[in-house]
Assembly symmetry: C2
Homo-oligomer: 214 residues x 2
């Protein structure tokens, strides 16, 4: 008998909320729980309890555990992609864009350690539509890198699309692994240093992708 209607005399939030608001609440709780305890360690009951809601509601909005996880993943990846894209677009030339992209990537992950924990767990998705969707999200980064690689090539030059894909996948895989390594090692070298080393490693090789030495 604390309250009869929504009009709460106390400052408590209303028991019933707008769907969009609830979805956001659930997503936030899920992101936190997945980040802290991993995919396996998180139960749907946990998340529901965290929001103060019952489990079927979570299912009604997100369909399944995979669906909820994927929603977290997509949101985080979108944020990360935005930060990195902005950094890249702001660069005065391709070389500095690339460096800025690396720095932005590692900085974001330093600043959002839990976000990263979620992304690393993406392999958790059982094979199926959710796993494919996760791949799609990841492919955005590969596209961004591929674009940069192409920009760095002289205008009218024969381009081997396979090579570009290989290079883009390689760079994306390298940065992903470095991110994992840095967080596991509890820090590692600072973003700028890692970015410098990567530039030294990749930059000259990128030139040769124009197709010279066999």
């Amino acid at each position: 008998m604390t309250s009869t209607t929504t009009g709460d005399t106390t400052g408590n939030p209303p028991r019933r909320r707008d769907r969009a608001a609830r979805e956001r609440e659930i997503l936030d709780a899920a992101e936190q729980s997945f980040g802290e305890r991993g995919y396996q360690g998180t139960s749907m009951d946990d998340i529901a309890a965290r929001v103060g809601v019952s489990k079927p509601l979570v299912y009604q909005y997100y369909g399944s555990k995979d669906g909820l996880f994927l929603a977290c993943l997509s949101r985080l990846r979108a944020q990360l992609l935005e930060v990195v894209s902005d950094a890249v677009l702001a660069g005065p030339d391709v070389e500095r864009s690339m460096y800025a992209g690396f720095v932005a990537w590692f900085r974001f992950l330093d600043d959002h350690p839990r976000a990263w924990a979620v992304m690393v767990d993406e392999g958790m998705l059982a094979a199926g539509p959710a796993a494919e969707a996760a791949d799609q999200v990841r492919a955005d980064f590969v596209d961004l890198i591929a674009t940069m690689v192409r920009l760095n090539l002289p205008a009218a030059h024969e381009v081997d699309e396979d090579d570009i894909q290989v290079v883009a996948q390689a760079i994306s895989g390298a940065t992903e692994r470095l991110a994992i390594w840095r967080t596991r090692a509890g820090g590692g070298p600072p973003p700028e240093k890692v970015a410098r080393t990567l530039m030294r490693l990749f930059w000259h090789g990128l030139d040769t992708t124009r197709g010279g030495t066999p």
Copy 2:
């Protein structure tokens, strides 16, 4: 009286087997099942049934699902590491060793698609001792690469150990991602071509790791 000793008159395998033999049987079955259906899709009952044994026996030998999965993972990684190491050691110089290592890596994964499926799933391991052990197994590759990078440096040169770690992690991550990409894409470019592209990408950059341009 079909038999008095282990010597069975029928061709049937003995119902009771030596522990080591059973362990191997279970490991084989697990590898196959994990490879076909993934970590989530495989149940301990499945594996036990495949061997023709009851579940508690599997638990007695491997402790947990994670433990069994880790055992598979370790064995496969060891095989892969051996193949790649051999290729690298056989090379006449560092450049050709590295190329040979790349080719061996991608070839092995082409020839053992199921093995790779298991390795990709390694993120499945719940956080804990098993996950750490999995990291250890992976670190072997990083060490191998780091050794090659060091060999490529001029004898008496100041070496930044951080840089070497970054480079080794980057190369390892790149090849891992490429392996995933190639199997997903159902082939992709052949091992030799990918290896050539990687050499073009990395080889020049490796020179500059000696510490020149800031």
